[in-house]
């Protein structure tokens, strides 16, 4: 019997594992991950992690930036806890060996970031997530009692009588299907960017944890809030980090004009100014792009319209010192050198503000089930996450969830064995049936593509009621068709087609909740912009969307009040003092 079973070996999952191991070495802790932990998507994060350390910065200012950045949809008690614990977490990472970039006196260096009023973003060049994840992974190796299930894919949460009892998972290498009994489960499966066609997210980001929780009866929260990052490379969707703008990069349209000044984001200055112009929040920058496109001031490419990110004035030396990975990525994937060329960029789906509904300790309404990281919604990100808040979030709430689960495991006995066995058997039969193969039917990839384009059309940067309503029907149709797809691979060994099929199902679940929540929220707030309801409506919608799975399998959306502590809703002001 596992005491704490963590699904996901990314930043949140590994941080939770260490927290459990440190709290009580007697506990059995296991990490199940569909890829080797160091392959998790945290590895791709580039820009940095925010936490107050500098003199002249205060916790309250970080809170305010986060809350106003989230358009007052954040739970302020959670934000306060997050901001207070973030510095310790980043220092803890430093103590574990993370190679943070440094000032010449040996102290950790910080850089500016979008929507932040102070310089408080710690960074390890522009491979922050990579260093963070590898440091965490290597540190977990010190705790030899942490059991790892590498390349195991979790397909189901076993829940009985309102309490979690473990998971069912496939060992991808052998095809072995096993029920892993556990007193507590922490979901740390990351985001779901792959429900959209054009995303910075890795192939593994298919929203599995959200779907697992949702199917098990736990609600998802704020699923309509999908973040578009303003600067992705046009074909691949590879992210050009916000750090590029923080170091002084400009966004220009086809006339070479810094167009952000036309969107109430301040006036251009030669060097970056905090909370202004290119350092505005991501939702506003992505929306400005759409307006430029409508005005015909973007440049057409085979992969859609683009604007340019101009780094040329930074010079080769600064680029190499601060954002070398940007240069490497541009050279290999776009065949250009940012020191001399303009970088074509367009908004790209990047991050999921919503996720599994949890409280401030990471607990879901199902006893023993916790969630942390991008898959969870605590919520500190509200309607729009600020860049560099996610990495500290996965650490702070990964640790909190780990500790809470450890305490739960210590104070509760293991659950009912019979229910676990029958549920496990049912799931095994379902998976084995899927692996029998089927020569006819549509391809997984084709349905996936249809779903992705439906989402892009309906739940993109701007949304509108009737398109969303139509998308509800399209998705319902796709769901049915997905029950009957072609499966060519009947092998037990490393059958990725079987996994892709499971992922298609989870993505469809997640897609349905996104569209349902977006349809239900008749206002514009942060990353959720309705062309038919263009204003923010605090009277009706200063509330989280909470979506449950109805007995007939469709999503049913309700509202939950936002926790306000000290910052009453106000206007979001950028570029004006």
């Amino acid at each position: 019997m596992i005491d704490v079973l963590i699904v996901g070996g990314g930043g949140a999952g590994l941080r939770a594992a260490i927290a459990v191991a440190e709290r009580d070495p007697g506990l059995n802790v296991a990490v199940v991950s569909k890829v080797y932990p160091m392959r998790s998507h945290t590895v791709s994060a580039e820009g940095g992690a925010a936490a107050v350390i500098g003199i002249g910065d205060t916790l309250d200012e970080h809170c305010y930036d986060t809350i106003s950045g989230g358009d007052w949809l954040c739970d302020q008690d959670a934000v306060e806890a997050f901001v207070a614990e973030a510095p310790e977490e980043l220092i803890q990472l430093e103590h574990w060996g993370c190679p943070w970039s440094r000032e010449s006196d040996g102290r950790v260096a910080v850089r500016p970031f979008g929507g932040m009023k102070k310089m408080r973003t710690w960074y390890a060049a522009d491979k922050t997530g990579f260093h963070l994840l590898h440091t965490l992974f290597q540190t977990t190796l010190k705790y030899q009692d942490i059991i790892r299930y590498d390349e195991w894919y979790v397909t189901k949460l076993v829940v009985d009588d309102g309490r979690v009892h473990g998971v069912v998972a496939v060992e991808i290498r052998t095809g072995r299907i096993e029920t892993i009994a556990a007193k507590t489960v922490i979901l740390a499966t990351g985001g779901c960017g792959r429900v959209f066609p054009f995303t910075t997210n890795a192939a593994i980001k298919t929203g599995d944890g959200m779907a697992l929780a949702y199917r098990a009866g736990a609600p998802l929260k704020d699923m309509e809030f999908v973040q578009y990052h303003p600067t992705g490379l046009p074909f691949t969707g590879i992210l050009i980090t916000e750090a590029a703008r923080a170091e002084g990069g400009w966004l220009i349209n086809k006339d070479g004009y810094r167009y952000l000044q036309d969107y109430d984001l301040g006036t251009p200055t030669p060097t970056p100014k905090l909370r202004s112009m290119e350092l505005g929040p991501r939702d506003r920058l992505s929306q400005a792009f759409v307006h430029e496109q409508h005005e015909g001031r973007t440049v057409d490419t085979p992969y859609g319209p683009v604007v340019y990110l101009d780094l040329r004035h930074l010079g080769e030396r600064k680029i190499d010192a601060r954002i070398p990975f940007v240069r490497e990525l541009c050279k290999s994937y776009q065949n250009l050198d940012p020191a001399t060329d303009l970088i074509p960029v367009r908004p790209v789906v990047h991050y999921m503000m919503g996720g599994v509904h949890t409280d401030i300790e990471g607990a879901t309404p199902i006893a023993g089930l916790y969630a942390a990281g991008e898959t969870a919604c605590v919520s500190i990100n509200g309607a729009n996450r600020l860049g560099s808040n996610s990495l500290p979030e996965i650490l702070v709430f990964g640790r909190r969830a780990g500790l809470a689960a450890a305490d739960f495991a210590r104070s509760h006995k293991g659950g009912e064995a019979a229910a676990v066995r029958t549920q496990g058997e049912d799931e095994r039969r379902r998976l084995e049936r899927a692996r029998e193969g089927k020569r006819t039917g549509e391809r997984v990839a084709d349905l996936r593509e249809l779903m992705q384009h439906t989402l892009e059309g309906a739940a993109g940067i701007y949304r509108t009621g009737d398109v969303l309503a139509k998308a509800v029907d399209t998705l319902a149709d796709l769901r049915e068709r997905a029950e009957d797809v072609r499966v060519e691979d009947v092998s037990t060994a490393f059958n990725t087609e079987l996994i892709n099929l499971q992922e298609l199902h989870t993505m469809l679940d997640v897609a349905q909740t996104i569209v349902a929540c977006a349809l239900n929220r008749q206002e514009s707030r942060g990353a959720h912009q309705r062309t038919d309801f263009t204003a923010r409506d605090d009277d009706a919608y200063l509330a989280h969307s909470l979506v449950h799975r109805a007995p007939d399998g469709t999503p049913s959306v309700g509202l939950l009040p936002v926790t306000i502590t000290r910052w009453p809703p106000g206007e979001r002001v950028y570029g004006r003092d």
Partner: protein, 253 residues
């Protein structure tokens, strides 16, 4: 491949390139066989995009690993025309008219098609104690250990390894003798050895016949490394360290 829109596929319809992909199904095949697929030759397609095209459109049963498609997760290493490469960062146009031969990384047991077993490497990775070792009192979580940019520079390069294992596949010593600790694991040990905050000693695991002394300085590991880690250098440096320590037993590091 992020967005296989209909237009892209049509536009590509005319020019194709042949991929010869090693297939191996345990229990069915006695040894790998090659299977040919024609995929669109698109200017900006990586080899990985070609494989994704095969899996999505031609043959759903092909298995391989990938995730980030931006050269940082380390999962998509394969042998492309005999060279270990990250397939997400290797472009089809590099191979002219083709064909492009895609095989699993050499030196590892093949689990399936292009997927190799890397558990041995993970065991080696843990064996070098790749974590920061401190002695005495820890600083509280309000203060960081100071480290100047120069001190950071001293190990930074060795911290860039993405565990893609191209170096193992390229190293004839490892291919010949799987007991060899190998380039990435030793480079990682050096990453901690040279970190000014680390007080650990990894002499006992590095100064072994099958650790640094197994390396004959072929140098291929460094040549194929996509992240410029230079493991060959890390190993030769530790050889010097270990040799000096062996003749001057009182000296450390």
């Amino acid at each position: 491949m992020t967005d296989t829109t209909q237009e892209v596929r049509q536009e590509a319809g005319t020019r194709t390139i042949r991929l010869e992909v090693a297939r191996y199904r345990p229990g069915e095949d006695a040894e790998p066989v090659f299977q040919g697929y024609d995929v669109p030759l698109m200017a900006d397609w990586a080899v990985l995009d070609g494989l994704n095209y095969v899996k999505d459109q031609l043959d759903g049963s092909l298995s391989y690993r990938w995730s980030c498609r931006m050269g940082v997760c380390g999962s998509c290493g394969m042998n492309v025309n005999g060279e270990p490469r990250l397939t997400c960062g290797t472009f089809l146009t590099e191979y002219g008219e083709g064909p492009v031969r895609i095989e699993p990384l050499k030196g590892f047991p093949v689990i399936r098609d292009l997927v190799v077993d890397i558990d041995d490497f993970l065991a080696k990775l843990s064996s070098v104690r790749p974590w920061l070792i401190r002695e005495g009192e820890e600083l509280p979580l309000t203060t960081e250990y100071a480290q100047t940019p120069e001190q950071l520079e001293a190990y930074k390069q060795y911290s860039m390894c993405i565990n893609c294992l191209l170096c193992y596949s390229a190293c004839p010593v490892y291919v010949l003798d799987p007991d060899f600790l190998g380039p990435a694991a030793i480079a990682l040990a050096q990453r901690y050895n040279l970190d000014s905050r680390d007080m650990g000693d990894r002499f006992d695991v590095l100064n072994l016949d099958e650790a640094v002394w197994g390396c004959t300085f072929v140098g291929e590991c460094t040549r194929v490394c996509p992240k410029h880690v230079d493991p060959a250098e890390a190993i030769q440096r530790y050889k010097l360290t270990a040799a000096l320590r062996s003749i001057l037993p009182w000296s450390k590091r």
